[in-house]
Structure formats: structure tokens, C-alpha cells
Symmetry: C2
Subunit: 651 residues, 2 copies
């Protein structure tokens, strides 16, 4: 590739960017597109509609860019959550690190390379720079054993140190932000809830009984109640049954005296019907004991267990529960709306097999992906193209077209093929059987990240020209930036935050950056060796050691905070809530939050809670006082079956 | 190497073994050696001495071998602990796996190799087998694309499957044994004690106050008391002071009335002196407040914290304590006699640096080790030897000497050099700053294991002839056996068990065996490729996958039990102890057990306990009852300074 082809490629990219930016700035001004570009704001605040026609609407303007730039971190935190802030930090960090690398490379490395005089060059002062090969700007142009190689070493030092300093301060401030995020967060059911899987089967005992027995026995002081997960099939049947009963009840005259409760039939959309609690036909068709037997058969070996404090919930997930590590597996429950109910019924013992299978599949995909890409990229050579498509011959002979084909098309082909990666990885992650949507997406994103690193970077570097890629030592630091390039301002206006990880993205960014740094240092080490510069080589080794030590320090100092929450923090939060009297309200909400279906939302899940309460009463006569809140009272069968279908669990 | 040289080497080894075995059987019969070979038995039981002279004493006999073979597992478990049983299991497992591999290789692989007809062979039926090169027995003698390569593949399958089956049953039974070992173990102070390091420094507050505050605040219900670790220097001073006082008191007449307490001066050996609690000279020289200030200044940022139950102690180690992961670092305390007190004063922040430094040092040592070995091994070639030492020329020309030099000496050189490895690794491990002797040894053993695998196996294979090493596909399975070769029936009679890991050795054995299996499979894959046998190659891939899956299953099913103890198990044990009323006694023993010095054993360490009790009294007036046991009463200064020097902590 010569300089002209490189510049053509860069020019096309910049042109496309400017075009897309202008298009965006025009489109977002159109009132009809408001719902697309301001979806989030419309959903949260009432925006005044102003559909007046004006010329301004069709003139591209950079005002939105300025606005996006001026947005403060607190605003993003308030509207997009902490993950959005971390994402924005990632962008800023990448820009900073890349700017430093750019300045160093342009003013220090590039002149040294260009005047390295290793490649044969025509001594013609009038020769155009544009016909120069790009290699003249790379380290391959520097003489073997040249004294100027120390500039490359110095550049490496400056880039590594500045990146490490930037990384340190980012990690520190994001850790602080995460701690603040955790301590300031309002109590959420997921803080108090543990997902228990692989509940052992005891003959003559339902899974629910086992859970009750186990947690009353070993976590008696902190266990509150639990909520079983049911097989999907059962709900379809129950919903069908409920609908039948609803239809049956439609025949009952509405103005009949003695009718009280209100009910929404889950199958129907808006039909409010008044239901007689005593209707004989309902009692006749399904009895409570029938229903209980039915639900028992359909219980999965998974349950949500609710604890009285955050601390005890976290404790429960930190311990190995049983002497068989494949039983009573505990983890913190995902947010209620984030649960993938269908995956909860997958037997726990299958999961590791699924994980290995998808890992294998993803690896195979990574290698298979190379075949079409290399084939199509191979076609992008001028002589091959003109041989395959002879009619293009004259056209391809033109200079500009040639530059486009050699400089731009191969990357377009790669990008087009890369579009197939995210859906494929998402498919693989779905097959892994994650318990929540966020975990599924996280797993897919990690797969894409590793795919990008291995495939795009390594394969491109090793199949292409290794040295050509190294004209900027910092090129690998683009990886996080490449991941982030699709952002828009992709946070404040458009998307509603679905789940919040509290900045767990950052350790991945950190590790990727450290990996990139180490890789560039090791490649530099190799090149210094090839260029027979033992001084530069030996000066690079301490740099590698320093980077490893820095990473180890960060891993010790900051990483644990992204893995676990400190006992101190949890206990303080629990105490604060207890002082404010929040805990009581929270406990009432748990059952509502983790409801797989309307059926279990107020009915069967409470029967577990009730049974536990009854057991406590039997043990401790003093506790036999009437319970607070109407939800905990005994319910009739009709209430049990036909409760409100508009539960959060159904969303 | 030809067959004769190989057989000479084997013959010498077998001869040496027989000689050493005979020597051992004679030496152990000598009454004077009884203390060497039956040290353990003498220490535990009273053995009748029978020094009669008889001829039998000087005749080698294999009876001890039979006895060792007949020793049952229960006997080993009772006398040597679980680690000894696991070690013996490792030997039995290695023998079994190796026997299977041997039979398969001798009867299936060896004939196929020998009749492979790839190497040029003189068609002389009278040609001696002994002059045949060893290569004739290896896979290199098999034709490329030979149909007989399936036998190698079959052998690999049989060896892999049988090893995996053996591994599975061993892992299963050792896991069961470990669980039984844990549940049956008597309460020990280490079960209830947590070592806290990196206690943060608060101005105007001693470390002891910080610990008291932190654990009363966050672990109030389960925290019992604590015990600070002091800097070494202080104890030397205190011991000196105590000795001075002791000398001073020697002048006090022994029959003076009003003397009560009994004291052993720690510096002296058996001098029992009666000490006046009111001696004015003592009161004058050190006052209580002086001493407290002194101990405050000398406190390390480490403490042993005692909990009421095993469960709460384990819980405390599972959680991240503070939002700064480098502070309040908790781990289960080692057994009291196992503690390396001097290492407890190393700042926690230094530890990771020390670990990295020793890792680097060990790696460098591994490569430097190669230089002398390769040099000396290089000398062991006949022509070089006769050039350097011309006077040996005639001698070396002899056939037998030639066989010894080429077949035996190189391995002797390697073994001699290997003797330098354990002390070096032990030195590295000491520099790491482990908190207990067992951890130090464990770390050193692991380093030696990796050294052996990498250095002896890889380097020998790649610098020597790769193929020659592969005449037995299972050769790599010797690694665990090689580690165990120094054993004798030295468990039952000789060694006193110093510390017990509860079989934590087994996961290492398992991983090493799996690694060896995978390595042999991958090497086989490569060789099948070289021999152009796509069928054998493609049949080996599922075997690799199966081995990986098997390992993953074992890692999920058994490994966690060797890492953590289940909540269920811990709680049941605590309950059992509470029912039997053992807990009260235990709590009294904690302070005695973790005593760095006589000073702290009954004095200052209890002052922490006392302070905590006082604080409890102030909070809860009902608890203000007199404490049980004389140790918890207020003590005079003389008792504080001059208490019994014969504490377990001093051993």
C-alpha cells in the first residue's frame, strides 16, 4: 500500500463520517423522528411538541456534538446509570491515550523512520510524497543497529507510562464511583434474594419442602421465605384453565349481590370482570389439593430464596452449601425483570457441558470465519479482479479506482463480515443457558471482544504485513475504542437503561488495555532484536516487568471491589435501612417481584411463605400474632387462581 | 543408545535398589538405630527393648516389605493422618496406572514397533538383540501410513480410559475420606480462629483497639476476642527484662513469708523460683502503663481473631471485609504450632511483590539450572571423555564401561544436580513470607513439582531425542511416582505428623496426571500426523476432548470440597459441639494456643479479652456476672510479666 492509497482510504472514511454526522443532525430535528431519537426523554418527561416548519430543520449543524461534549458526568449518571458513565469514561480514556500516542509517534517516531534511509529511495527531490510506499514511514526503514532506535524505545516508555497513569486514575475514580453507587442505591429485591439451583430431590417431598427445610435449618435467623420456579408447560396449562374459568364466569350476571373481588383474566387484554369468591363452579372444577399436587409435579429444582438482610444473602452465595458442590448451588439473583425464566428450568448439571460446547463452537466459528474473509480479501487485488471480471479492466486501470480497491475495499469486506459476529455470538450465549438477559449479553459481548482481539488483530497482523501494522506502536490501543465507536450521545436521549452492572465493564477495559500494552512491548522487543539494538531491547524488558507489576497492583487494589461487596458496606446499608424502617416494606415486595406468572405471584409463592410462618408459629407460640399486610392473609381459591395478570414478572 | 546400554543402566539401578533394600532391612534390626527408624513409635508407645545378639540381625530379609504392604489404610490413617493415606494412595494409583500402561505397551505396542520394518535392519537371524538400537522398539520404526498405527491409537485409548477410571474412583473415595476427616475432627483452636492482616492504622488508637472496634461492630454476635501479633524485637527485650528481674529475685530469701505465686523464668531452663507478687523492686522498675505503651508501639498490623463458631470464622474469611481490599485481609489461621511468627510482621502490602519476585527468581533458576546439567551431560560422551582425559582411553574402550558411561552416568549427573533444587526452592518459599511452616513447604513442593515437569521432562525430551522418549507412551505418568520414590514404610514408624492438610495433595496429583495424559495424547496426535495416519489422528481428537471433559467434571464435582468446607457441615459440627458442651472449654484454650511469647500467653492477650468483656458489661448490665475460670480474673503485674515460659506458642 502506498501513501496515496492510504490517504484515499482515510479520506473516504472521514467523508462518510461527516456525511453521517450531518444526516444525523438533520434527521434528529425532524418532529416525526422524535420518538426515535428522544425515546428515553419522551418516556420520562413530557416534551412540548413544536412542529413549526423552519429552514433550520434541514441545515446540518454541529450543535448536538457540542451538547454531547458539554454533558456532565452527573447528568449521565442520573439518566443513564453508572454503566453509561463508565462507557463514556472509556471513550475519553481511549481518546486521551490515543492522542498522546499520536503526538509521540508523529513528532518523534515518524521523522526518525522516514529519515532512516534503509529502503532504497530515488534521490529525486521532486518525487511526490504520495507515491512513496507506506513502509518508508515504518520502523522497517530504520537501519539495523541504528543509534536512533532509542527514540522508539523512549516513545514506548512514554506511551506505556502515560497509559498506566491514565488507567490508574480511571480505575481509582471508577472504583470510588462504584462504591458510592452501591451505598447510595435504594433497596432492591435483588439485593436480598439468592437464586438456588440444583435442589436435591427427596422422595415424598416437594422441592419447596426441601428448600424450606434446608434454609430454616441452616439460615434460620436470616431466611425470610422462598419462591419456587415452575416448568414452563404448567403455566401454559394454568393460564388456559384460568381463561376457561373466566369464560365460565362471564355467564354469571354482573349485578348479582355478594360479589366483591376484582380480577383481570390473564389471557384476555382489558376485560375487567367481577368475580364471586364463592362461585361453586370454580370450587368444583379445581380444588386446592389438586392444584398443589399439580404444582408440585411441575416444580423445577430452582428457587428464589429471600433473606432478611443484604449481608446474609451475600453470605449465602459466598459459602459452599453442601458437601456435594453440585447441589444447593447459590448465586445472587438477577433483577426481577432481567430473569430469563425459561433457562431456570435447565438442570444445573447440564450447564458446564453447555458452556464447554458453546466455547468450542465459538472457537470453531472463529477459525471458519477466516475462510470467506481471506477469500474475498484476496479478490481485492487489482490483477485478480481484472482477470475475473475482464470488463472492469479499463475501469480498474484508473488511479483513483485503484486506490479505492486496494486501500478501502478490503476493510469494507472485513467490516461487512464482522456484522455476522454479534448475532452468532448472541446465539451461542443463549445456548449457554444464562439466568438473566444481562448475563447473556455480557457473555456475548465478551465473546465478541475476544473474537475481535484474536481475529481482527492477530490474524490481520500475521497474514498481512506485520511491520506495516506497526507504524504506530499504539495501534492496538484502538481495540477498546473500536468497540465503542458506535456510540451516540447510543445514552442520554434514546435508550432506557435495562440493567445496571455498576461499572463492571471497567476491569475488562483495563485488562484489554494492559494486554495491548504488553503485546506492543513484546513486539517492540522482537523488532529491536531484529534491528540488532541490544540497548533498546534490554531497556524494554524492565518496561514489560513494570507493566505486569502495575497490572498486579491494580488487580489487588481495585478488582476485588468489582467482584464482591465488602461486609462493612453491606452491614452498614442493612443497618441504615433498618433504622429507616424500610426493611418491612421490602420484605412484602419480594414475592411480587420474583413472579414467574400471575398464578404464583400472589398464590402459591405465598403459600410457601405462609407455610414457613405457620411452622414458626408452631415452634414459637409468641410469634402466633396476626400478620401484617393484606397479602399475607389466608386466601380463597378464586383469589389464588385468578389474581392480577399485570405483574412485573410478566413484562 | 542401544539395547545393551539401556539394559546395563536398568541393571545398575535394580542392583542398587536391591542393595539399599537389604541395607535398610539389616540396619533397622540394629538396636542402636531404633531411635532413627522407630522414632515415632518410641515417642508414642513404650517399646520393649530387646538387645539380645542374634545372627538374624545381620541377614537381610524382605519381611519389612511384606509388613509395609500388609499395613491397612485405617492403620495409616490412625497413625499418619489423612495426608499419609493420600500419599500411599498416590503410590498405589501410580503403580496401577503404570502396570496397565506397561502391559499394554509390552504386549501390544512393542511387537508392532519391532516388526514395523522402517529402520534398515541386517537380515541376519543370528544377530544379537542386544546390539539392536533402542529405536527399533519405538514408533519411529513403524512405516509411514502403516495400518498398524491403530494399535497405538487403541493403546492410547485403553491407557487414557483406565487412568481416568482409576482417577475418578480415587478422587471420589478421597473426597469421602476428607469429608469424614473434617466431620470427625476434634475441635481445634485453628477451626475457630481467623488471621487478620493489614489492620488500618488510626492515629491515637492502637491496632488492638481497631480490631476490637471493627469486630465488635460487624461481627458482634460471633466475635469472641482477639490476640495481637507483636514485633519480634519487643520479645527479645521483654525476655531480657524478665530474666533480669528473675536474677534480682534470686537474692530474695526463699523462705520469706507472704510468697505465693510460682514462676518459671523463660530464659533459664529448670529454675523454679517463688515470687512475691508485691515485690517493690518489680513494681518500681516497670509499671503497667509503661508496659502497655511499650506493647502498643510494638504491635504489628496483624491479629488472631477468635470466633464463637467454626461457621462464623469461615464466613469471616469468605467475605471481603472492607471497601479497600488491601485492608482487613482475613484468612483461616494456621495450627498454633505451625505459625511462622516472624513472617506475621511483614506488611501485607509487601507480600504480592515478594511473591512475584520469588516467582521470577524461580523461573530464572530453572533456566540457569540447564547450563551446568547440559555441560556435564555433554561430557558424558565417550569420544569427548577420552579426549579430555586421555589416560582413560583404554579403560573407556571396554564394552561394559562404555555402556555405564553412556547409559547410566548422564542420569546420575542429572539426579545429583536435582539435589540442589529442594533447598533452593525452600529458600525462595521462605522469602515469599508465608504465615505457616506448612504453607512454606507446600509452596516449595509445588515449585519443585513444576520444576520437575518443565525441566526434567520438557527439556530432556526436546534436547534429547523426542522419539526415543516415547517408546512408552505412558512415560510421563511417572511424574507423580518420581515425586514419591523417596517413600518407605517412613510414615508408620518414623515421622511424627507435623501438620495435616486433609488430603489437599490429591487435586495436585489429579491435575498433574491429567496434564500428563493430555500431553501424551497431543504428542501422539503429532506423531500420527507425521506418520501420515489420518485415521489414528482423527480418533485421538475425541480422546483429548473426553479427557478435558472428564477433568472439568472432576473440577466441578470434587475440587470445591478441597477448597471450602460446606456451610451444612460446619453448622452441624458447631451444633454437635454445643450440645456436648465442648465450646466453653475451647474458648478458654484459644488464648493459650496462639501465644507468641510467655508474656502474651496469659497477660496481654487476655487484656484484650478482658477489655472486650468489660465493654460488653458496660453495654449489657445483665452480662456483668463474674467470669468463669481463673485465667480471666484481673492479674497483678508480676503475673503479667512473669508467667509460665513453657507455653505451646514457644515450641
Amino acid at each position: 500500500m502506498d501513501v496515496a492509497a492510504f490517504l484515499t482510504s482515510a479520506g473516504i472514511n472521514i467523508g462518510l463520517c461527516v456525511m453521517l454526522f450531518s444526516l444525523y443532525s438533520v434527521l434528529r430535528k425532524q418532529p416525526s423522528n422524535r420518538i426515535v431519537y428522544f425515546g428515553r426523554r419522551i418516556a420520562s418527561v413530557h416534551v412540548r411538541r413544536r412542529d413549526l416548519f423552519s429552514l433550520e430543520r434541514f441545515v446540518p449543524s454541529p450543535s448536538w456534538l457540542v451538547k454531547a461534549w458539554e454533558t456532565k458526568e452527573d447528568e449521565i449518571l442520573a439518566s443513564g446509570g453508572m454503566d453509561a458513565v463508565v462507557f463514556q469514561r472509556l471513550l475519553v480514556f481511549s481518546m486521551r491515550a490515543f492522542s498522546i500516542a499520536c503526538v509521540i509517534c508523529i513528532f518523534l517516531v515518524l521523522p526518525v523512520n522516514y529519515y532512516g534511509k534503509c529502503l532504497p529511495r530515488v534521490d529525486d527531490p521532486h518525487r511526490l510524497l504520495s507515491t512513496e510506499s507506506l513502509e518508508a514511514f515504518t520502523i522497517s526503514n530504520v537501519d539495523k543497529g541504528s543509534k536512533w532506535l532509542w527514540t522508539h524505545c523512549l516513545a514506548l516508555y512514554i506511551i506505556s507510562f502515560s497509559t498506566c497513569v491514565l488507567l490508574y486514575f480511571e480505575y481509582k475514580s471508577i472504583t470510588k464511583m462504584r462504591l458510592a453507587h452501591i451505598t447510595r442505591s435504594l433497596p432492591s429485591p435483588s439485593h436480598f434474594t439468592v437464586l438456588v439451583r440444583s435442589i436435591p430431590y427427596c422422595p415424598g417431598e416437594s422441592y419447596s419442602d426441601s428448600v424450606l427445610k434446608f434454609f430454616t435449618n441452616y439460615y434460620g435467623s436470616s431466611y425470610l421465605s422462598h419462591h419456587m420456579v415452575y416448568q414452563k408447560g404448567m403455566f401454559q396449562r394454568l393460564l388456559g384453565d384460568a381463561e376457561k374459568i373466566c369464560n365460565m364466569l362471564k355467564t354469571v350476571p354482573l349485578d348479582r349481590p355478594g360479589l366483591g373481588s376484582c380480577c383481570v383474566c390473564p389471557g384476555s387484554t382489558t376485560s375487567f370482570k367481577i368475580l364471586a369468591a364463592e362461585t361453586e363452579s370454580v370450587k368444583g372444577s379445581i380444588t386446592y389439593s389438586d392444584l398443589e399436587l399439580n404444582t408440585r409435579d411441575n416444580e423445577c429444582s430452582a428457587a428464589f430464596v429471600f433473606f432478611k438482610t443484604r449481608y446474609s444473602a451475600v453470605l449465602c452465595t459466598q459459602m459452599l452449601q453442601s458437601s456435594n458442590p453440585m447441589l444447593w448451588v447459590t448465586e445472587m439473583a438477577p433483577e426481577p425483570h432481567d430473569v430469563l425464566w425459561s433457562n431456570l428450568s435447565i438442570p444445573y448439571k447440564q450447564l458446564w457441558l453447555r458452556k464447554i460446547a458453546t466455547l468450542l463452537a465459538a472457537t470453531v466459528f472463529m477459525f471458519l470465519f477466516l475462510i470467506p474473509v481471506t477469500c474475498v480479501q484476496g479478490l481485492m487485488q487489482l490483477d485478480k479482479l481484472s482477470r475475473i471480471f475482464p470488463f472492469l479492466k479499463g475501469w480498474l486501470a484508473k488511479d483513483f479506482i485503484g486506490h479505492v480497491v486496494t486501500g478501502y475495499l478490503p476493510s469494507v469486506v472485513l467490516v461487512l463480515f464482522l456484522y455476522t459476529v454479534p448475532p452468532t455470538m448472541m446465539l451461542f450465549s443463549s445456548m449457554e443457558g444464562p439466568v438473566s438477559r444481562s448475563l447473556r449479553k455480557r457473555s456475548a459481548c465478551l465473546k465478541i471482544l475476544y473474537f475481535t482481539i484474536l481475529n481482527v488483530f492477530f490474524v490481520n497482523v500475521f497474514t498481512g504485513s506485520l511491520i506495516a501494522q506497526l507504524n504506530m506502536l499504539s495501534s492496538v490501543k484502538d481495540i477498546p475504542a473500536a468497540l465503542a465507536k458506535a456510540i451516540s450521545s447510543q445514552i442520554l436521549n434514546v435508550y432506557v437503561t435495562k440493567y445496571e452492572s455498576g461499572g463492571q465493564l471497567w476491569p475488562i477495559v483495563h485488562n484489554t488495555t494492559i494486554f495491548s500494552l504488553l503485546l506492543s512491548q513484546i513486539i517492540a522487543l522482537g523488532i529491536f532484536g531484529l534491528k540488532e539494538s541490544p540497548v533498546a531491547s534490554s531497556f524494554t524488558i524492565p518496561l514489560v516487568c513494570f507493566t505486569l507489576l502495575f497490572n498486579e497492583y491494580c488487580r489487588k487494589r481495585f478488582y476485588p471491589i468489582f467482584q464482591k461487596t465488602a461486609a462493612q458496606v453491606l452491614i452498614e446499608m442493612d443497618r441504615r435501612d433498618q433504622q429507616r424502617g424500610r426493611m418491612e416494606d421490602m420484605c412484602q415486595q419480594f414475592h411480587m417481584a420474583y413472579c414467574q406468572s400471575p398464578m404464583s405471584s400472589r398464590g402459591y409463592c405465598e403459600s410457601g411463605h405462609r407455610r414457613r410462618k405457620e411452622e414458626e408459629k408452631n415452634k414459637d407460640p409468641e410469634a402466633a400474632k396476626p400478620e401484617k399486610g393484606p397479602q399475607l392473609q389466608e386466601r380463597t381459591l378464586s383469589e389464588l387462581v385468578l389474581c392480577n395478570g399485570d405483574e412485573p414478572g410478566l413484562r
